[in-house]
């Protein structure tokens, strides 16, 4: 009897383990619309007319951890009215008004429209379906992916939330708002090195720059003097070199080109330096420099933060660099030649390399007058 009970317990235990191991991970977001009926399949995708492989696979366990996890699919894909849906033409635009999430401050439907309005005024703006050279410009998703929600913490720390629940009795509410707020308080913006890498992905793309230079010339449009070498010249600057090594205190692209007083809005509204509103325009440059270089003056603001040594754009630096290079080569070759010449001369004279004590003049000289032993 006791044996049977033990046997049943063992079988029950094995069943529990097997079910635990074989079960699919629970979806962290509600799929009330049934989108995962199709999009859960990893091989769901197609090859477009131009040969691009597009995947339409949604990983529910990953999406469920992202900042958009509470937004139903049709909150963004609002053009889908039926299933199976029709071929998608425009796709998601990031200024869509979300009907499922309310802005807790205003009670209105949540939307990225305010920041999109800023982006619309920037020199980077392009519509979602851009044509011509505008296609090279960044759309929202060029810079922003769908990041993991609060990657620093899996659980809100109890020693903090225990205090909140004294008044806010709903623990879920407390936990959610703790994570929402703490994510924004913590420094979650990109590192300087990442910002440089992101900007350089376009501003360091020689073919892209070439296309735009040609287009601007054909259209008679003005481009910045440093536009062709913006990324390259920054990387050669002192700021660029130390930032490249992960140093956090030197200026990255946005530290100068975005308005620090309203940083997160300003990075979406970058202007060319010839625009008076730009932090690096002639009128604002000194104040921008002074943010780090407290004692900067007009002379300092005139220094070139994007140093180049091209013959056309900086002949002074070009020729100085050239002369330095020549001097280096000549000195190097001359010293090697002189050392070789002296070695031959001295060896012929009877001196040699001797590791231990004694005179160096132990070899018979071809010129006679040897050491008397």
């Amino acid at each position: 009897m006791a044996n049977n009970k033990k046997k049943h317990l063992t079988i029950f235990g094995l069943l529990v383990i097997a079910l635990t191991c074989l079960s699919q991970p629970a979806f962290a977001f509600e799929d009330d619309e049934g989108c995962l009926l199709c999009h859960k399949y990893p091989k769901m995708g197609r090859i477009t007319e131009d040969g691009t492989r597009r995947s339409y696979y949604v990983m529910p366990h990953v999406f469920g951890e992202t900042v958009h996890r509470n937004v139903p699919c049709t909150g963004c894909h609002n053009y889908i009215k039926q299933l199976p849906h029709r071929p998608v033409k425009e796709g998601v635009t990031c200024n869509t008004e979300c009907h499922s999430i309310k802005n807790p401050a205003t009670g209105k439907n949540f939307s990225h429209q305010p920041i999109y309005d800023k982006y619309e005024q920037s020199s980077h703006f392009r519509p979602k379906l851009a044509e011509g050279h505008d296609q090279d410009k960044p759309y929202c998703v060029t810079c922003h992916r769908n990041p993991i929600y609060n990657p620093q913490e899996t659980e809100a720390p109890k020693h903090i939330t225990n205090r909140c629940v004294v008044c806010h009795e709903d623990k879920n509410f407390v936990e959610t708002w703790y994570k929402h707020t703490s994510r924004r308080i913590k420094d979650i913006k990109r590192s300087s090195r990442d910002i440089v890498a992101l900007c350089s992905s376009c501003h360091g793309d020689k073919r892209l720059i070439e296309r735009h230079l040609k287009a601007a010339k054909a259209e008679g449009r003005e481009l910045g003097r440093k536009y062709p070498k913006a990324a390259e010249s920054y990387k050669n600057s002192f700021h660029g070199k130390v930032t490249g090594y992960g140093f956090k205190e030197a200026a990255n692209c946005l530290d100068c080109h975005a308005d620090a007083s309203n940083y997160y809005l300003s990075v979406h509204n970058l202007k060319p330096s010839r625009d008076p509103a730009s932090p690096v325009s002639d009128g604002n440059r000194l104040n921008t420099c002074k943010r780090c270089h407290t004692y900067a003056d007009e002379n300092y603001a005139a220094l070139d933060p994007h140093p180049t040594s091209g013959k056309e754009d900086n002949p002074f630096s070009y020729y100085a660099n050239l002369i330095y290079g020549w001097v280096g080569d000549v000195v190097f070759l001359a010293l090697i030649a002189l050392a070789a010449f002296e070695t031959v001369g001295r060896r012929r004279d009877g001196v040699g390399w001797r590791l231990w004590h004694g005179s160096s003049w132990w070899r018979p000289s071809k010129r006679g007058r040897d050491r008397v032993e």
Binding site: K235, F238, G240, K241, V242, G244, Y245, G246, F247, H293, T294, Y295, A296, D297, E298, N299, Y300, A302, L303, D304, P307, S309, N314, F316, S317, A320, N321, Y324, V327, G328, V331, F332, L335, I336, L338, A339, F341, E342, T343, G345, R346, R347, R348, D349, G350, V351, G352, W353, R354, L355, H357, S359, S360, W361, R367, G368, R369, D370, R371, V372
Partner: protein, 312 residues
């Protein structure tokens, strides 16, 4: 040995400065008369201690050399990976010392130590010269100041190594190579300090320079710092280390930078005029030389025939 006019002048000056008495003067003249005319025989036959025989550098100069030597190498080690960022060797070299957050602190600290060595050297030189001037013992040709003779010595030396001349030039305490190297290093240090300070205090330099040249200055300094560093490293690696380590006769190392002494054979070969001063200032050196001449049968007065035959 019959001294050249130049050598005679140096000897007379040295004896005057050292207030050499008549008896000692006769002794010095006797030693010189016994030296073979062929200086090659002299420096090939003297007995030398590789650690050094004759005084050359004071303790101050040795400390300054040590400070410059250590700081220069470490400055290059910490600075070049930043200047040449992007090269395959740069990042590993920078990481070895803990990354740019650490190397920039090391670099600046060493720069301060190098500047200290420079200031220490300048003070030593100025005070040393002032004391010599006061005591009326200063000799311009014994100093590091370049003269026209250095250019002549350089030409003469090239002809000697090419086999066109029979003797190396009679050079002073500092030969043309050392003078060139010294002033190249001094100029390099100056450029490195100015350009380095333009990175550390760009606002200061911009504020004191006229607006028309502030930008060019900063640009020039940005180029100069790594170029000058690389040039200095090339000169050190391919010339200085050749001259003091690798050249036949100097291998494996001249100990002068540690002991402050130069070997007898080196002094006679490359600094003959200074060796004449040693004969005046160090009585034991006269005895040492006479013993060598006798032992090797090179005494000019005793054995002029043999000496003449060997120098053919």
């Amino acid at each position: 040995m019959k001294l050249s006019d130049e050598a005679r002048r140096v000897l007379e000056t040295s004896m005057r400065i050292n207030k050499t008495g008549d008896a000692e003067r006769r002794e010095i003249e006797d030693v010189i008369a016994r030296m073979p005319d062929d200086r090659v025989l002299l420096y090939k036959n003297v007995v030398s201690n590789p650690i050094g025989d004759l005084p050359r550098y004071s303790i101050h100069i040795r400390i300054q050399h040590m400070l410059t030597f250590v700081t220069f190498l470490m400055l290059a080690f910490t600075g070049l990976p930043i200047a040449f960022f992007g090269h395959y060797w740069a990042e590993p070299l920078n990481s070895v010392l803990g990354g740019v957050d650490v190397t920039r602190i090391i670099h600046r600290t060493l720069a301060a130590a190098m500047i200290f060595a420079m200031v220490y050297h300048i003070i030593t030189i100025i005070l040393g010269t002032a004391i010599k001037l006061k005591n009326k013992t200063f000799e311009l040709k014994r100093s590091i100041i370049p003269t026209l003779k250095d250019a002549r010595d350089f030409k003469h030396d090239l002809l000697y190594f090419a086999g066109k001349l029979d003797q190396r030039p009679e050079m002073d305490k500092f030969m043309y190579k050392q003078k060139l190297h010294y002033f190249a290093a001094a100029f390099g240090n100056f450029v490195m300090v100015i350009s380095g300070s333009s990175f550390l205090f760009p606002e200061f330099w911009a504020s004191i320079l006229p607006a028309s040249i502030a930008s060019y200055f900063q640009e020039m300094m940005r180029l100069s710092h790594p170029h000058e560093a690389l040039l200095a490293l090339l000169v050190i690696a391919f010339w200085h280390w050749y001259n003091v380590h690798l050249a036949p006769g100097r291998f494996p190392m001249q100990w002068t930078f540690l002991t402050g002494k130069i070997t007898r054979e080196h002094q006679i070969e490359e600094h003959f005029l200074e060796y004449l001063r040693c004969l005046v200032e160090i009585p034991s050196e006269r005895k040492e030389l006479l013993e060598m001449l006798a032992a090797r049968e090179l005494d000019q007065l005793d054995n002029t025939g043999a000496q003449g035959a060997q120098s053919q």
